[in-house]
């Protein structure tokens, strides 16, 4: 006994150690996997770059999407011009370049501001989560505010901008800066009058910056007919980024375009970008192919009867489902069921609501027995409610992408998509939704889009023309009959699965959605109370039939019983008769025997020697 215990004790540390090793190993593997993934991510643009120009090094900006667009960042050791009109985010882009360089890429930076003081800048970017003062304290960033007051300056004779060079050089050397921002150089033109000198000096400045080997961002105000008001693009020839803030139909969209980038390929389109609490994010979202993997996995729609209609298993994972219907037909309810089912499977669900607030949806859905609150609390369900007119369409798309990347949902609901049309034109909305659906398919996110069709035209088309893009299309409609409206659901299409072609009555009960068969009567499809009365009529008829059968069965039983009784009586009668006959036969035989004995006895007495003929001596009883 003691031996065993000691062996066990001896063995146990080994086991635990082995276990720990395994844990460590798995952790290591996890890390390695993550690293390799990151590397992959990092090398992707590099590879692209290598094929184009193996010698052009790039400085990553750290700005979401911009590095992807530029294939790795801004040209290292060269100046880049960022131009745009007032309020389009030039200073912010430049500041993010410096801050992210200092914090994420280990490259200290100098921010030379001509328009705002260091404190103002620090305050402005604090809302984006950048602690500029801390970076300055840690000698990662130098902010030099250059103020040129026209009113206190006079010019006499020859001069140069050596002062600026000295200041910049001093700032760069003091922290070993690799990045420089000049925001906005054009302030010089308003401060100093001799443009001939200025231009010569600017040319010298950019040369000098290149010689210094710093990656520079120069911002410039958009001018009439040219990129910048004072033609800075003339001096900065390596990379020019144009920012734009356009208002179309009272909705603004920020856009970014890389006008030129020498020695590398780059995205040439206008890309919408966002400025939010995480800074700038640019998303190159066009140019998506149709090469996504497809899934065989099926997921429940949240309504079991609907799953049955959809080939018995529900939607395909990663497919897009369009629910169109007139007002009040239960589109949101169907969406809520789908959301609940997703959360029930432990999947994250992201609900974009454009017309109702999250609280309102939760309350309304509770009334039909769908309680979304626990999932909200668990964090599986997240709402994102906004007015569609809040941003432009492209900004919406960018927001969607951002949210999707942040939350990583498996299921997404857009309720309703037609509000997108309000944020732009129909054509734009269709284009945005096409790209959105593509994006979702690539990421294998199952999407449910609801779409309101106006009551007047109950046609089999969605108001936003994406019906050909979606995989499954459910149609909800009102059926008005006998003075009442009832909801009906049918599947217009569902790619890749055998689906029911029947119309179902769509009932909203306090236990959720219920799908019922509809009745086809002489006047057409029967729903609602018409269906109910039809049902009760059928019930009555069935009852009558049953009663008839019952009575027939009873009659048959009765007849059988009567017949059987008669059979018994007859048998009894027969038995009685048989008995009587037996008795008579018995009597006859006794009599016969007695007479025989008498004859024999007589013959004995007479001493007869022969027995009389034909008379048996003995008669055997039967």
């Amino acid at each position: 006994m003691g031996l065993i215990v000691s062996v066990f004790v001896k063995a146990s540390p080994d086991i635990s150690q082995a276990g720990r090793k395994r844990v460590l190993a798995s952790q290591d593997m996890f890390d390695r996997e993550r690293m390799s993934k990151r590397k992959e991510h990092m090398t992707k643009p590099k590879n692209k770059k290598k094929t184009v120009n193996p010698t052009l090094p790039k400085a990553p900006t750290g700005i979401q999407g911009l590095d992807h667009l530029t294939g790795g960042g801004l040209p290292r050791g060269r100046p880049t011009l960022v131009c745009g009109s007032a309020g389009c985010g030039k200073t912010l882009l430049a500041m993010e370049f410096i801050v992210r360089g200092a914090t994420q890429h280990g490259e200290p930076g100098v921010f030379m501001a001509f328009e705002e003081t260091s404190d103002e800048l620090a305050q402005n970017v604090l809302s984006l989560g950048f602690d500029l003062n801390d970076l300055i304290k840690r000698k990662k960033v130098v902010v030099d505010f250059v103020r040129i007051e026209r009113s206190e300056i006079d010019e006499t004779g020859e001069y140069d901008l050596e002062g600026l060079f000295v200041r910049l050089g001093h700032a760069i050397d003091s922290i070993g800066a690799k990045r420089v921002v000049l925001d906005t150089l054009e302030a010089l033109f308003s401060g100093l009058l001799n443009t001939a000198i200025l231009r010569a000096e600017l040319r010298r400045l950019f040369r000098w910056l290149k010689d210094k080997g710093v990656t520079a961002v120069i911002t410039g105000e958009r001018g009439e007919g040219q990129l910048t008001r004072h033609g800075l693009e003339e001096y900065v020839s390596d990379c020019v980024i144009l920012l734009d803030n356009r208002v179309i139909d009272q909705v603004t969209t920020r856009r970014l375009r890389i006008v030129k980038y020498r020695g590398t390929t780059h995205g040439t389109n206008e890309y919408p970008f966002l400025i939010d609490e995480n800074g700038i994010s640019v998303l190159p979202i066009t140019s998506l192919g149709l090469e996504h993997d497809v899934s065989e996995e099926r997921i429940s729609s949240g309504v079991s009867r609907l799953d049955t209609m959809l080939g018995g298993a529900g939607y395909f994972r990663g497919s897009s489902v369009l629910v169109t219907g007139t007002a009040g037909t239960g589109k949101t309810s169907l969406a809520a069921h789908f959301a609940r089912a997703a959360c029930g499977r432990g999947e994250k669900c992201l609900y974009f609501a454009f017309e109702e607030s999250p609280g309102q949806i939760v309350r309304n859905m509770r009334s039909i027995g769908v309680n979304l609150e626990p999932w909200l609390k668990k964090g599986l369900l997240s709402f994102h409610a906004m007015r569609s007119t809040m941003h432009g369409l492209e900004t919406h798309l960018t927001t969607f992408h951002k949210m999707i990347q942040e939350i990583q949902p498996r299921v997404i609901i857009f309720d309703p998509i037609d509000s997108m049309v309000q944020a732009g034109t129909l054509k734009d909305a269709t284009s945005v939704l096409t790209r959105l659906i593509d994006f979702l398919k690539v990421h294998r996110i199952t999407a449910l889009l609801t779409n309101l069709v106006s009551g007047g035209k109950i046609s089999e088309s969605s108001s936003v023309d994406i019906s050909s893009l979606v995989d499954t299309w459910l149609f909800l409609r009102d059926m008005e009959l006998n003075g009442e409206r009832n909801r009906a659901l049918y599947i217009l299409k569902s790619r890749g699965m055998a689906h029911s072609n029947q119309v179902r009555e769509f009932l909203l009960t306090d236990r959720g959605i219920d799908l019922q068969d509809v009745y086809l009567g002489p006047e057409g499809v029967l729903t609602g109370s018409a269906r109910q009365s039809q049902e009760s009529r059928e019930k009555t008829a069935a009852l009558v039939r049953r009663q008839e059968i019952d009575s027939k069965q009873r009659e048959r039983k009765r007849k059988r019983e009567a017949l059987e009784a008669r059979i018994v009586a007859l048998r009894k009668e027969f038995e009685a008769q048989e008995e009587e006959m037996d008795r008579l036969i018995g009597q006859e035989m006794t009599r016969e025997n007695t007479s025989q004995e008498d004859v024999e006895r007589m013959a004995d007495r007479r001493k007869a020697d022969a027995k009389p003929d034909g008379v048996p001596f003995r008669v055997t009883r039967r």
Binding site: E149, D154, T156, G157, V166, L192
Partner: protein, 114 residues
């Protein structure tokens, strides 16, 4: 390197006569370039002509003391800064246009300048 040019009234004169104001001038240059030398000699001439005995010139070489550039917001060189009397004035350039320099230093009303 600061190299004050002591062409100032003696302390007693300054303290004795309160109506005499001392002009405190600062010339920013970067090294001994022709431009900075011209500026300095121009300034010298100008001061002797108009401010004899009541000026003080401080020459700051930014190549040696670059950290001083930010204090007076120096961008162009050479720059002459009139620290005193108030208000602060800046004149950029080599001061070759004497008339403009005088106007800039407010030693002569603008209407007198040609």
């Amino acid at each position: 390197m600061t190299s004050p040019v002591e062409n100032v009234p003696s302390k007693e004169t300054k303290s004795g006569t309160s109506d005499v104001e001392v002009w405190e001038l600062r010339l920013y240059v970067a090294g001994q370039t022709p431009k900075s030398l011209t500026a300095f000699s121009n300034l010298k001439k100008l001061c002797e002509a108009h401010l004899a005995g009541r000026y003080k010139i401080e020459v700051i070489d930014l190549l040696k003391q670059p950290q001083l550039a930010a204090g007076d917001q120096i961008v162009a060189l050479p720059t002459l800064v009139r620290k005193l009397p108030e208000p602060l004035r800046k004149i950029v350039g080599d001061l070759s246009n004497t008339e403009r320099a005088l106007v800039g230093l407010q030693l002569r009303p603008a209407k007198w300048g040609t």
